[in-house]
Amino acid sequence: MKELILRDIYLIRKNLLITFGIFVVIFMLGLLSVLSAKYGNIQKYAFDSGLINEVLQTSAAFGIVAGVILGTAVEHVYNLIKKDYDCGWHHYLMSSGIRPEAIVGVKYLMVVIIDIICLMTGVGGCQLLKAIAGAGEGLLIKGAFANQEGMIILVWFSSILLIIGGYFSALEYAYKGKSNQKTDIIKFLPIMVAIIAGMIFFFIMEQDEEASKRLLLALFDKLQNVTVLYIVPIVTSLVVTVICYLISVRIVKKEGKRV
């Protein structure tokens, strides 16, 4: 199985490097801003300390943005499923002694491994920028977990990406890499529904400021524990990934029964 993983790495390493390059560029922008605000020209020439704090806070967020972009590297893996069908590699493996569990498992393992590596790299970058910038109020997360804001956001984002990766991979196997309008709709419909639901929710909240403040405070109270912030997204994403893997194996085993 490790040779199959090696094959996938050979094929996506260029794309991974490009994504990592983008991560480095955004991270460096954040780092330079933070260093300037702490020790450089912004520190020297800013009119007031409030502005410096704002720059420090915002610059630390570059770490989150960089980590989020790095996390999208999982798409290179499920895009490879389509290429495997197109070039005949999937067909070749099915004619060999490799079991469908391994054929499919390689892709899911790659998605998980890349997701974890990107998460750890993103969190590392975030924490480094935060450490240089100094502790302060988070942009989105207040209270006891404010200084873990970057890590929390990236854990949630990585978990969502893992779920999306598993779901998209299962769809690629279901449609044997042949995408068309129908498959694109099925792919993006849940995401669009989630975004629209979110927008409707925020629109409703904006109609009653007091009620929305109470709701958000109650929400933040609920979120002030490790289980909700870390364990729930990680476990959920892993469970969904396993389910998508099992569905994909079943699909591949039954190939040829459908026209």
Partner: protein
């Protein structure tokens, strides 16, 4: 359950049936004896690839029995597939890979992967080791696939239109490799193609398939000896009884009538000149067998 070492036929198919919308592989049965090359002939859409995919259990068939190397399929699928090499009409290895990377990958796919054999074939075929496959010509890609297919001690080669689109020089080179492969009597080849001239050169047995049904299967030389084409006038063609011929190509200039028993036809239609035929002609006449005459 058959013992791998004592089987007579590398492939045994009995009443293989697979239904799709608009196409049915209908009770396909034939054998490929150990140590032989079977030419599997049919026009496009006849069912060759469906049969091969069923053999390899890439698609699930509806009914029938398949034995590969003496082992029943799909019960012994994975142990049998270790000894089979499937070669397709397009290179299944991504264009961004090189032979150097491929040999590392193949170690994880085939238990008996022999890197030295692979490298020897690369040298013999003059294939570059570090160049990406996207820069290979079609002939080079096929040679690469064959090199990979012959480098893990496979006892059975299954080829699906592997020589299609290759120039005669490359095809000849590849056919010579297959003849070498068969020097070991334990090795066998099933080769599907519609290039009948290749099969006439190297096949021991042939099987014709058309619209999902087997029309003919047997020893190639016997099939060629038994079949013949009677060239006669349209007037003389009217004397032929329907059960005596497969089909007839009738033009303004005369008739060509395909018979499947030359000696019987020679006795019954004395005076008729019965020419030898080719696999291509046999395929053409059998494909049109439902018509009394065609042109």
């Amino acid at each position: 359950m058959g013992n791998v070492k004592t089987y007579e036929n590398a492939i045994e198919i009995r009443n293989l049936t697979k239904k799709y919308d608009g196409f049915t592989l209908d009770k396909v049965s034939f054998d490929v004896p150990k140590g032989s090359i079977m030419g599997f002939i049919g026009q496009n859409g006849a069912g060759k690839t469906t049969t091969i995919n069923s053999l390899l259990n890439i698609i699930n068939w509806d009914s029938g029995e398949i034995r590969l190397l003496g082992q029943e399929m799909p019960e012994h699928e994975f142990e049998v597939k270790e000894q089979i090499s499937a070669i397709f009409d397009v290179l299944p290895f991504n264009d961004d890979l090189s032979a150097k990377q491929l040999t590392r990958i193949m170690r994880g796919i085939w238990k008996e992967w022999d890197e030295d054999t692979f490298l020897n074939y690369l040298e013999r075929f003059q294939l570059p080791f570090k160049k990406k496959f996207g820069q290979f010509s079609k002939g080079m890609k096929m040679k690469l696939q064959i090199a990979a297919g012959l480098s893990h001690n496979a006892k059975l080669l299954i080829m699906d239109e592997a020589t299609t689109g290759l120039d005669p020089v490359v095809r000849n080179e590849i056919l010579d490799i297959f003849l070498e492969y068969l020097q070991d009597e334990n090795n066998s080849i099933l080769m599907s193609s519609h290039i009948t001239s290749d099969l006439e050169k190297i096949a021991d047995m042939v099987t014709f398939i058309d619209k999902g049904r087997i029309l003919l299967t047997g020893i190639k030389d016997e099939i060629l000896d038994n079949h013949g084409v009677v060239k006669c006038s349209k007037k003389d063609f009217r004397d032929f009884e329907r059960e005596d011929y497969i089909s007839a190509r009738v033009t303004d200039f005369g008739a060509e009538v395909m018979v499947n028993d030359r000696s019987k036809a020679a006795k019954k239609y004395s005076g008729a000149v019965i020419d030898k035929t080719t696999l291509e002609e046999i395929m053409l006449f059998y494909v049109n067998r439902d018509k009394n005459q065609w042109s």
